[in-house]
């Protein structure tokens, strides 16, 4: 939102520019809204003067160039002049001629349009085909007035040669750029007038809106027999609360005067023609968009009947920009007797557009429902200056003054005359908004100590009407502040105008109640520490994945929640589990030189198969996944992944049970795993299922280019929490006064027997003995091709009552071996 300080000043009764620009901008940032920057234009025009072309001849050596003598009133120093004091300039424009007034950029001055480009274009006196040209006579584009570069700017205003160019068209201006986002709730601030009011208010100055805005200037209606009439009907008042219109005759479409073009250009709007420029100018000033139709294109038999309604089914509309749309069923159509002529509040229709032949116009000044406008804009992808303003909610009360100001401008600038009276269709009148608030409430929210009087002054400065009685304020909201509805809105106004940074700051008071992390956050943190201590690296992956990744690991894309509007196909689906994303990182890290590593992630995953059932929303599965790889190893990585899981479980105080998998379980989480080389994992102590550990399917490994020694696990964080909830973790045993003894035991078993069967038998036996024990697996040995394997354990025994003798220990180990033999047919080696 560009604001011209000169235009704001013109609309203001107080001096807005007494502060240095930097200070005003700083104050506005603190009390109005984020300012992206400001541009002091006066610097762009230094040295440029109005000059008269006193003679104009053909350049002796060039057909298309003219050799001019100009009179600058002798204002410019350090330039070559003839006896008459005139300066020679070569000019290539077709419209240069004797007697006209022009803008002359003397040597050493800068061409204004080169500001904002890479390099400033500084002029000099130079030779052009044998003749010296001192600076240049400038085109409107070079002067930054409009985009016209077909000829030089002709100044038709009554001004003497030598006058400073900058003051002629208010070019000694400062343009402040305020972020639009600031004003999402401020319909008034999308006009220069609204911002002018705020610039006064934040400086503590009492602003008064111009007469024409606050008090309707009476309108002299035209009398004409040319047309039979203009009628407006609003079919759906909920989408168009008020519609005003008037017709004009004797319209001549031509370019606007330079001052108007210059004003528009400074506010970032391209001049088009006098009628459109005026509607734009009024919109930029008051925030009220207007639209002009060609009367003769709208009228049937000299009669224009405008109907505001929702579309009929199948109705189509060609817009000004040539785009054909079928407006959504709730949109606002402006129609004539035949059908739509505009998409209300958004864009005009091609069939009613004014053009160079237009002689009569209908001027629309209406207001539309902000939500409806936004819906239309989003549905059809139409973003116009009118939408930006209408979707903030422009007030119906604003229409009469704005329309009358516009009529006045059209009369003055275009020379057209109104036909007949203004048509005003306003089915339901609004009454002014009133907000009651106490001084105490304001102070309690702001932490301030403002008096009723302080508050009254600040609010009336920006034209609120305030009636106070004791501590209570009754605030009547001016019609342009459609955003003010509740007491908190008044709190904001007061805080802002007072300066939020002037408020005392103080910490909130609280009780001494301690806070602790939730069990889940504490567990996450602990797991991070444990796994990183074990040399693994924590990663974070996107929550969304490409469908290809799901397919590669054997997860079905239809089991994922799919995004319907992702900008990139990489973000098509919510990931079903964490492991695939980590597998996707393995190859690229191997390629960048890492041979052995373990990556883990603790995060959420989502799929349609598993749901925590906790609400109507999809379940969020908190998972832990780790992938281990070693490019140089040829061994089975299953045991590495399992080692990580054992390490984690042990630090958390658990023992895990690993169960072989009979057939592919077919869940999203198990999909990438080769079930024959994987195990399901359960917490032994509390019998809680955790997840899966294992190697990956060969086709997963090959499509993701995994080294052969790659394995991983994925377990549920919430399952671990459940385990925590169920069981006490303390395993402390009182220290024995007596020393411990160890002995090893090796058992020979068939090569395909499960290790766990043997371990369970040994553990059960030792559990039932009167000793404390540790059972530690030492090795599993098998000769290649042998049908047996030898499993060795180290057994450490401790007694609470006496020192164990070697014989006693040997006796127990013998018994243990016998038990193993009996139960498993395992022979002691």
């Amino acid at each position: 939102m560009k604001v011209s300080l000169n235009i704001a000043q013109e609309l203001s009764n107080v001096d807005l520019k007494s502060l240095p620009t930097e200070d005003l901008v700083k104050l506005a940032t603190e009390r109005l809204g984020g300012i992206e920057g400001f541009d002091d234009l006066s610097k762009h025009y230094e040295g440029i003067v109005v000059a008269k072309v006193v003679s104009c001849e053909k350049h002796p050596n060039a057909d298309k160039l003219s050799l001019c003598k100009i009179d600058d009133g002798g204002k410019t120093g350090d330039v070559d002049r003839d006896e008459a004091g005139h300066v020679q300039v070569v000019c290539g424009a077709p419209n240069v001629r004797e007697g006209i007034l022009v803008a002359w950029i003397p040597p050493k001055s800068v061409v204004p349009s080169s500001y904002g480009e890479k390099e400033l274009f500084v002029l000099e006196a130079r030779d052009l085909r044998g003749e010296i040209s001192n600076g240049m006579i400038a085109s409107p584009r070079e002067l930054g007035i409009n985009s016209d570069h077909d000829g030089i700017l002709e100044i038709t205003d009554d001004v003497a040669p030598g006058a400073s160019f900058v003051s002629l068209y208010k070019l000694d201006d400062v343009i402040i750029d305020i972020e639009n986002k600031m004003f999402t709730h401020r319909p008034d601030c999308f006009g220069q007038l609204g911002v002018a009011r705020e610039l006064a208010g934040i400086q503590g100055l009492k602003f008064e809106s111009p007469d024409w805005y606050k008090n309707n200037i009476p309108f002299n209606k035209g009398s004409s027999e040319v047309i039979k009439g203009l009628d407006v009907t609003i079919d759906s008042p909920e989408i168009c609360p008020r519609y005003m219109a008037i017709a004009f005759d004797n319209v001549t479409i031509e370019p606007s005067p330079v001052w108007l073009q210059s004003d528009l250009n400074r506010l970032g709007v391209r001049p088009i023609n006098n009628v459109v420029d005026i509607t734009n100018y009024i919109m930029l000033t008051t925030a009220q968009p207007l639209h002009a139709f060609d009367f003769d294109k709208v009228a049937k038999d000299g009669r224009a009947e405008i109907i505001v309604r929702k579309p009929k089914s199948g109705e189509k509309l060609t817009l000004l920009d040539g785009k054909v749309i079928e407006p959504h069923s709730e949109s606002t159509l402006i129609c004539n007797q035949d059908g739509p002529i505009a998409l209300g509040g958004v864009m005009g229709g091609g069939n009613s557009e004014i053009d160079e032949n237009t002689k009569r116009i209908v001027l629309e000044c209406a207001t539309f429902d902000m939500y409806n406008i936004r819906k239309t804009s989003m549905t059809h992808g139409l973003f116009t200056d009118a939408v930006t303003r209408f979707n903030k909610g422009q007030p119906a009360e604003q229409l009469p003054p704005v329309l009358q100001k516009t009529i006045q401008m059209i009369e003055e600038v275009v020379g057209a005359q109104p036909i007949g009276d203004i048509v005003d269709c306003y089915p339901t009148k609004n009454s002014p908004q009133k907000v009651d608030v106490s001084v105490d409430f304001i102070n309690r929210r702001l932490g301030s100590k403002l008096s009723s009087k302080d508050i009254g002054i600040m609010l009336t400065n920006v034209e609120f009407e305030v009636k106070s009685q004791d501590d209570y304020l009754s605030v009547i909201v001016p019609f342009w502040r459609t955003d003010i509805e509740i007491a908190e809105d008044i709190v904001e106004e007061v805080g802002r105008l007072y300066g939020f940074n002037n408020l005392p700051i103080e910490l909130p008071v609280r009780t001494i109640k301690p806070v602790s992390p939730t069990a889940r956050l504490a567990l996450k943190s602990k797991i991070r520490q444990i796994l990183s201590r074990a040399g693994a690296n924590e990663v974070l992956n996107y929550s969304f994945v490409h469908g290809n990744l799901l397919n590669k690991v054997g997860q079905k894309p239809e089991d994922s929640y799919a995004l319907r509007n992702a900008l990139s196909p990489d973000l098509q689906f919510y990931r079903q589990t964490l492991t695939p994303s980590i597998l996707d990182l393995v190859h690229k890290n191997v390629k960048s030189g890492f041979d052995e590593f373990a990556l883990f992630e603790i995060n959420k995953s989502h799929n349609k198969i598993h749901d925590d059932g906790s609400s109507d929303l999809p379940g969020e599965l908190n998972m832990i996944s780790l992938v281990y790889t070693d490019k140089k190893s040829t061994k089975s990585a299953y045991y590495n992944a399992r080692r990580y899981l054992d390490f984690l479980a042990e630090r958390l105080g658990y023992t895990l049970v690993y169960s072989p998998i009979e057939k592919d379980p077919g869940y999203p989480v198990t999909a990438p795993f080769d079930f024959k080389r994987s195990a399901l994992v359960t917490v032994k102590e509390v019998d809680v299922f955790l997840g899966i550990v294992g190697e990956f399917k060969q086709n997963v490994a090959s499509s993701m280019k995994l080294p052969s020694a790659t394995a991983g696990f994925e377990i549920g964080l919430d399952h671990l929490l459940e385990a925590q909830k169920r069981g006490s973790l303390s395993k402390y045993k009182p220290l024995s006064k007596y020393p411990s003894s160890e002995q090893d035991l090796t058992l020979k078993v068939p090569v395909n027997s499960d290790f766990t069967d043997i371990e369970v038998v040994l553990r059960d036996f030792l559990d039932s003995s009167k000793y404390e024990f540790k059972l530690q697996p030492l090795s599993i040995f098998s000769k290649e091709g042998s049908d047996h394997k030898n499993i060795s354990f180290r057994i450490e025994l401790t007694s609470q009552t006496h020192t164990l003798t070697t014989d006693e220990v040997s006796g127990i180990i013998d018994e243990l071996a016998e038990t193993a033999d009996k139960k498993l047919n395992a022979q002691r080696v």
Partner: protein, 358 residues
């Protein structure tokens, strides 16, 4: 050394290819080679095989068909071998998953601890949480898939309100939303704790988690990032309380005295709304600072007094109680702290990046 070694092996290869002029010797060679290959399928593109095909034309005319057939058979054999190894598990023998170690192998070692790292983002969220626990805030997680009510409506964004335009949200086929801010938790957080207010306690919660914006990626823009969002509701909570709380946090976080300021802003869920800035802790006057580029202030986060409609929708009486909320980015803090040049590194999973954060 590396150059010499590869030179030798190249010479060795050429020599082999010269010797191998019959299909049988090539077959044996390729079968041996297959065993050592990581990418089994590449055997089908082996130069030895191509050379054999090239030799067909050098064969006496009557032997050509036979020679060609022999190569085709070899190719078929290799294809079968490779195909077999890629479709199921028959190449790999079963293992005893109940054992802690493989046959004839020791219990595997963990990777040396000095290589282990936690993620720089989680390091930071833990640090931030730690400070807020001390200040009396609970810490809550957020959701990654939520509904329109929590993301917008409960936060005073009416349907078709233009403020919705500032959030480019990801939407699922079902119409669910990947939240664009942790405020999606605000209604739940407040309503679950409203009993605290009756007990004379404040509701003080920091919601910190992942959020999503449907934006194109570049060095400064991520579609996935982390937000920390503070919520405090109680009796007579003021704008001054909000500023003081944030100032205390940043002073503690940066371990140095900083100045703060707020400037007006607009959010539908706070009234009034602010942008919160702090004096740049990384520069002193006169220097050309990499963080604030000489501005001396860094915009840190958006904040404001919780809108009465938001409190009301969470079951809290906005006449009796008031509160404030803020939302800020964690990535920004981490990037400034470590001088990280590209926000995309965080989700890249690159060990070269990750292992720098011990």
């Amino acid at each position: 050394m590396a150059i010499v070694a590869s030179g030798i092996s190249l010479a060795f290869d050429i020599e082999l290819r010269v010797i191998m002029d019959d299909v049988q010797s090539v077959r044996q060679h390729l079968l041996d080679k297959l065993k050592s290959l990581e990418e089994k399928k590449t055997i089908l593109r082996a130069p030895e095989l191509r050379d054999l095909y090239n030799k067909v034309k050098d064969q006496p005319e009557d032997k050509r068909a036979e020679f060609g057939q022999a190569i085709n058979n070899l190719k078929k054999e290799l294809e079968d071998l490779v195909g077999q190894s890629s479709d199921s598990n028959s190449v790999l023998s079963d293992i005893d998953v109940t054992a802690p170690m493989d046959i004839n192998s020791p219990i595997p070692q963990l990777i040396p601890t000095e290589n282990g790292t936690t993620h720089p983002i989680t390091q930071e969220t833990e640090k931030i949480a730690e400070i807020f626990y001390r200040m009396g805030f609970e810490v809550s997680e957020s959701r990654e898939i939520d509904d329109d009510y929590h993301m917008f409506t409960s936060l005073n964004f009416p349907e078709n309100h233009p403020a919705r335009d500032d959030y480019d949200t990801f939407i699922t086929e079902e119409g669910l939303i990947a939240p664009a801010h942790t405020s999606t938790m605000q209604n739940r957080i407040i309503s679950a704790r409203k009993h605290l207010l009756e007990e004379g306690e404040n509701i003080a919660v920091l919601a910190m988690d992942r959020v999503f914006r449907n934006e194109d990626l570049d060095a400064r823009h991520e579609h996935t990032f982390t937000q920390h969002e503070g919520i405090l509701v109680g009796k007579d909570i003021t704008v001054g309380n909000l500023v003081a709380t944030l100032k205390l946090f940043f002073t503690t976080y940066y371990e140095e005295d900083i100045e703060v300021k707020i400037t007006p802003f607009y959010f539908p869920f706070t009234e009034p709304s602010f942008e919160f800035s702090l004096s740049c802790p990384f520069c002193s006057d006169g220097e050309d600072c990499r963080v604030c580029s000489g501005e001396r202030w860094i915009e840190m986060l958006g904040c404001g007094m919780i809108h009465p409609n938001v409190l009301r929708m969470a079951g809290v009486d906005p006449i009796k109680y008031s509160g404030f909320a803020w939302g800020g980015g964690v990535e920004r803090l981490v990037m400034i702290k470590h001088n990280i040049e590209d926000i995309r590194h965080f989700n890249s999973g690159k060990l070269k990046f990750l292992r720098q954060f011990k």
